[in-house]
Subunit: 316 residues, 2 copies
Amino acid sequence: MTGAGWLRRLWALKRRQVLLGGPGLGASVRGRCIGDSAVPRLVEEGLRPRLDKFGGLSLQLAQLRSPDSLDCATFRNWLRDSIKQWKAEGHKAIWLHVPILQSRFIAVAAEQGFTFHHAESDSATLTLWLGEGFNKLPHYATHQLGVAGAVLDVNAGKVLVVQDQNKTTNVWKFPGGLSEPGEDIGNTAIREVFEETGIKAEFKSLLCIRQQHRHPGAFGKSDMYIICRLKPSSFNISFCQQECLRCEWMDLAELAKAKDTTPITANVARLLLYGYKEGFDKIDLTMREFPAIYTGLFYKLYHKELPEDYRNITDV
Amino acid sequence: MTGAGWLRRLWALKRRQVLLGGPGLGASVRGRCIGDSAVPRLVEEGLRPRLDKFGGLSLQLAQLRSPDSLDCATFRNWLRDSIKQWKAEGHKAIWLHVPILQSRFIAVAAEQGFTFHHAESDSATLTLWLGEGFNKLPHYATHQLGVAGAVLDVNAGKVLVVQDQNKTTNVWKFPGGLSEPGEDIGNTAIREVFEETGIKAEFKSLLCIRQQHRHPGAFGKSDMYIICRLKPSSFNISFCQQECLRCEWMDLAELAKAKDTTPITANVARLLLYGYKEGFDKIDLTMREFPAIYTGLFYKLYHKELPEDYRNITDV
């Protein structure tokens, strides 16, 4: 059963999402406090365990009115007793959210079996699996995203390539780098190309996706690397000398058979050559934007171009 | 300047990766200890700041011989004085790795400006940017990866679809879920299809990629969602009733024009129909495996099929 599968199962078991609260959370709160009989002190302090959107039980230590006056021993006793009670009540997981300045409570929770789920900026989230079998909680983000831009000047038949500064071997590759949080794939390509080479370009399509696990530099996580086809709107190179040793417009056919390049660059150069000679529709994954059902935001979808009579299909 | 760009810049500045060590790290250690003049106590305790592979200065609190006997006040004074010294020495960033049971030191570090970079299992990593301008350190993983399988029975012209249990609206979609850490895209699709429907299938191709930011359920991070084309090797449905309300082989042409489906499912159904009628080469992103340069591991690369005469190009 996947993490997502477990979430859906828990949702089935807890059909009515119970908002458990009490004084301190505002007028819209209703319901009962979990574990009142075991936790008078911490509830008085403002702490309100609640069933969160993932179906687990969530504790927000930021709710404590006077966190600095809560000593570790009191928290330890409360947590130990509460865990027993929550387990008896059938809760499958506890999520503990700890502000960075209250991190002394993390070690206390770890003694009870909590482990880090994730942390960023000024907060850490820990979890404790109370259910049977292995931990079925959903993981945190598992991939970093790197994007490169293959900027093809179709008039000259040349593509923009760089050699990285300070690498062991000087191989030609497409300019690129890690995406910023919240940045769209095409925008990463455009930004990285500009930062490394000074060339302005526009997004045309996705060309390939590479997945790599245990990627060096990914803090033990996985790497998704996407190469995009870009169309240049400027041609005068002004490359960043801290990042690049060299940068030039190389004949695409030459790059396609070059030896001093990476396997993925050579492969994509050949793909580009195929598209250049026989039509980019043969290689492009074009982008369309759709509204996301649950958020009202938009997302970008990439796939082979769909002919219009299939795109607008209502009757087959 | 991207995070990756900064890393490369720092690499250029620190051309010789200095391993700074001293007693306690083994016979292969050479070099000098940073900040000896300011940090006698902690160095005697085993702590050895070192330039790590990202070019920053790394502190591993796990090196402390007797962490439980180190009080917060001593650590605070040492850290405060060390930061002044390291900044004066020109170091741009400090990475602080804290075992979960020593989390009381996290709050101390936060007082000095450290923030969480990431945390997992029994360790947290914090960072402090000492350089000029904005923080140029590389981010942690930014995307979760969800994969669905569009299992197409080409003989019957039917595709396997499910309706999720306990959703607000009952819409048809392809079975799928979150990838496990280290799991390849195609294997996620195969596993999720089997877990949800009981159908065994094999990977044929990637069909589309969707990127969505601030995805609900992604802990504030982004979501990459990939739909794969699978070929069934079994046909008797035995679906997981905790996860699915319904599961059936639906006529592909019917799904392509169905109203009770998600936009992405309808779009991919039309893509599948196009491929089904006019050749899957029109829609497929096929997979090839390559060796990764730096790790000796392999990675999978997905793109439109490259004709053989382009794949083996040596002379153009």
